[in-house]
């Protein structure tokens, strides 16, 4: 497993740095861009920022720097056409061409994406800067853009919140696949089989028995590379909170409300979630939020504790076997049904992804009164969904599981409650009760809309050297 050292540093592990900036770049001068690539892996740290490798040494660097290339980017750099043809279709076509599979319709449709995503063919390279301090972002950016090899089309920037919170108020960053042969101190046993390395790196065994993804040749280019779906996902936090209000009010009037929230349970929920004086309505909001996601907002999985959140529980280790109280349609269950029964049995564990995301936009303070007359600033997530096959993992999950709900006949034809492109006139979500019955929530609007993105290839360090050495 020695050649893992050749993998970029942000794939198998996360850096956990608070400031992240994405530079969306166009190749201005192919020759200079190739020299830029060669310099980025030269080990001489004073010019072009150095690509952070998997083996970053004993101490994590102050700043980290990684790159992804689009198909247009590979072309612009002069990648031989025989090599280009070996990349998978979905990557060649690009994210905008796959909009229907990804649910990028209506307000999420690529036609509505702002600059620079309105000109996808010009996006060649997406470089990511990770830093402990905000001013470091500027310093690295300046070094990256010096020399004019690459033209900056635009940037996107995010900053993580305390306790790994995300805009909708959940604790995130609890789960990532653990890989065979990779030791990561931050990842504990999650009750799921370790993912074969081929889940995330080209040239290795995949989760589907005997199946191998095509490795673009020469091996130096394709081997140990992977693919990333970079997504700018706008989150309607106000809409989400409003929906929780409405659903909680409806539930309060429901004759089975005590099955949803046992009388008196609001005190325990308020205590764990640190919400003082939580009313029954307020607690029902948290119950709805927990069911939509599959986790309470503190991260407690419903699969382990469906009635109240429990800070003492290990948040990673659970499964959906037997009579799990996690809704079949809950977001985390739709993304990864783990070992639970699904229609496409062969797909259990085969569509797993590495997720690296950071929120953008200001923190939403739930206790602060809102001025309805004032427009809310844009908030969202800069997400990276990484896997060795975009088609078999990211797209398969998005299309069959999040959008269609094919994995379980009880959720088929409903969309993911949190990320789905829901239309309130048709959307629904079944809230399970202890008794085994369900209450159907309706009228879920779209909470998340896509505001840009690109499919990129995350080359190994050898591949960056290969591209840097091309002569055309």
């Amino acid at each position: 497993m020695n050649d893992i050292a050749d993998v970029q540093g942000n794939i198998l592990r996360g850096y956990r740095k608070p400031y992240v900036r994405y530079l969306i770049l166009e190749v201005a001068d192919p020759g200079a861009a190739r020299r830029w690539l060669a310099a980025s892996v030269s080990g001489h740290g004073d010019g072009v920022p150095q690509i952070t490798p998997y083996n970053w040494g004993k101490d994590k660097p102050d700043t980290c720097f990684n790159i992804g290339l689009t198909y247009e980017g590979l072309r612009a750099l002069g990648t031989p056409s025989a090599s280009l043809a070996m990349f998978p279709n979905e990557f060649i076509e690009g994210m905008t061409a796959r909009a229907l599979k990804l649910g990028d319709v209506g307000p999420s449709a690529p036609d509505n994406w702002p600059k620079p995503f309105d000109e996808p063919k010009r996006i060649h390279l997406i470089a990511t800067i990770y830093a402990d301090k905000k001013q470091q972002l500027d310093q690295v950016q300046e070094r990256a853009l010096a020399g004019g090899a690459l033209k900056k089309l635009d940037t996107r920037e995010g900053c993580s919140f305390e306790d790994d919170a995300v805009h909708f108020g959940y604790r995130d960053n609890i789960m990532q696949p653990r890989f065979e042969g990779i030791h990561d101190r931050e990842r504990h046993d999650d009750g799921q089989p370790r993912a074969p390395l081929g889940t995330v790196l080209l040239g290795h065994k995949t989760n589907l028995e005997d199946l191998m993804w095509r490795v673009p040749q020469p091996a130096a280019l394709g081997h140990n590379g992977t693919f990333n779906a970079f997504r700018v996902l706008k989150q309607d936090v106000v809409g989400f909170e409003d929906y929780l209000d409405q659903a909680a009010s409806d539930l309060l009037k429901h004759k089975q409300v005590d099955d949803v929230l046992a009388p008196g349970a609001e005190a325990k929920i308020g205590e764990v979630l640190k919400l003082k004086g939580l009313t029954r309505h307020g607690a029902l909001r948290e119950v709805v939020a927990a069911n939509l996601c599959g986790r309470w907002r503190d991260g407690t999985p419903l699969a382990l504790s469906a009635d109240t959140p429990d800070p003492k529980l290990v948040k990673e280790k659970f499964d959906y076997t037997g009579e799990s109280r996690c809704p079949y349609g809950a977001h985390i269950r739709r993304c990864n049904p783990r070992g639970g029964q699904i229609v496409q049995r062969v797909a259990n564990n085969s569509r797993r992804l590495v997720r690296r995301g950071v929120p953008y936009g200001p923190l939403y303070v739930r206790t602060q009164p809102r001025d309805p007359g004032k427009a809310e600033p844009e908030r969202g997530l800069l997400g990276n969904f990484i896997g060795a096959s975009l088609g078999a993992q990211f797209e398969a999950m998005s299309c069959d599981w999040l959008n269609l709900g094919l994995q379980d006949p009880r959720i088929t034809e409903s969309n993911d409650p949190i990320t789905g492109s829901n239309d309130p006139s048709a959307s629904w979500f079944d809230l399970p009760l202890k008794s085994g019955n369900t209450i159907r929530l309706r009228g879920l609007p779209r909470f998340v809309s896509t505001r840009g993105g690109a499919y990129t290839f995350l080359p190994s360090l050898s591949a960056i050297r290969f591209l840097g050495s091309l002569t055309t």
Binding site: N422, D423, S427
Partner: protein
């Protein structure tokens, strides 16, 4: 709400394009026949819609079949859109209407389109193509225009085609109308209510739907190569119903988010949920054709509680236009107001 002047203009635009004045009669679908029958909802219909006609008890129904062409002359055998207007006589005394035609999709999206269409699709002289023009079409792998029917000296085909060539939304409706043919019987055609309606289920869920009547006797057209007869549909229906009732199945298709709700030029795919809502049994041709064929006034917006019109601008325009037309011909002033329709 359509203002009445627009409604009157709509009716006038239709009247202006008639081959001959019709007097106090409908300007289109002028020729028609009233039939008596009964509708019985299926055992699942009530799960989707609370309207009285879908609760399962037999509901008396009045139906008017018609030829789409405007004008006093009857040409049953001509290729033409046919109408099937149904009133469910529910207990509120006002009734609930379902107006359907053999055309699956309309050719204009709104009133503005319609006025432009009537400007372009005016009656124009129609004559037989010469043999060399036809040969020329065949060489171009086109299908030559059909020969005019006996006494057919003008029609709107050329104008409608011109309009469709400029507007893709109109192409389906115009194309379908052009090849629609003539049914061997009013009871042997499928009729579609074209617009989207919203139905409310007992649990309060509202769904966008489209309705179609499907003839139990099957769809059958006359031979397009044969010389068309002008008058046979009334007699055929009368003789048929004297022997045996004719039945239609009411199919309701449920639209999905993203389907065209407010645009009747756009079809819904056959992959949508389709609910069998009940069976209409036609029992006899009405003895009083003046009351049941002529004076009865249908309106696609006359709907039982539990069915609501969509925001389709054509559906909305029909609310006023049908009323304006009814006033002109002194149609039966039904116990009806616009408030009831909403």
């Amino acid at each position: 709400m359509v203002d009445t002047s627009v409604a009157k203009q709509l009716v006038q635009a239709i009247i202006d394009n008639l081959p001959a004045p019709v007097g106090p009669r409908r300007p289109v679908h002028t020729i028609g026949i009233g039939v008596k029958g009964e509708f019985v909802a299926s055992n699942v219909a009530r799960n989707y819609c609370i309207a009285e006609q879908f609760q399962g008890q037999p509901v008396p129904a009045s139906v008017r079949f018609s030829n789409g062409l405007g004008g006093p002359d009857q040409h049953d055998g001509w290729s033409d859109v046919r109408g099937m207007a149904t009133r469910f006589h529910i207990s509120d005394g006002k009734g609930s209407d379902l107006i359907a035609t053999t055309l699956g999709e309309f050719f204009v999206r709104n009133v503005d389109d319609f006025f432009k269409f009537t400007e372009i699709a005016k009656l124009a002289p129609y004559s037989r193509l010469s043999w060399w023009q036809k040969l020329c079409d065949l060489v171009k792998l086109k299908v030559p225009d059909r020969d005019p029917y006996l006494n057919e000296t003008e029609n709107v085909n050329a104008g409608a085609l011109r309009y469709a060539n400029q507007h893709r939304f109109a192409q389906l409706g115009v194309f379908q109308a052009a090849v629609i043919g003539a049914p061997v019987s009013y009871a042997r055609a499928s009729y579609h209510a074209v617009h989207t309606f919203w139905v409310t289920a007992p649990n309060g869920v509202r769904r966008p739907v489209r309705f179609s009547w499907q003839p139990v006797a099957g769809v059958c057209n006359t031979d397009p190569m044969a010389v068309p007869q002008d008058k046979y549909l009334f007699k055929e229906l009368d003789e048929r119903l004297k022997k045996w009732p004719a039945r239609f199945m009411l199919m309701m298709t449920i639209g999905e988010a993203g389907d065209a709700i407010d645009d009747c030029t756009k079809p819904w795919p056959g992959t949508r949920l389709r609910i069998s809502m009940g069976t209409l049994t036609l029992l006899k041709v009405s003895e009083d054709q003046e009351a049941d064929g002529e004076r009865i006034s249908f309106n696609p917006n006359r709907l039982a509680p539990g069915i609501e019109p969509s925001a389709d601008p054509i559906l909305e325009a029909r609310l006023g236009a049908y009323e304006a037309s009814r006033e002109i011909r002194g149609g039966c002033p039904f116990k009806w107001s616009k408030v009831d329709a909403g």
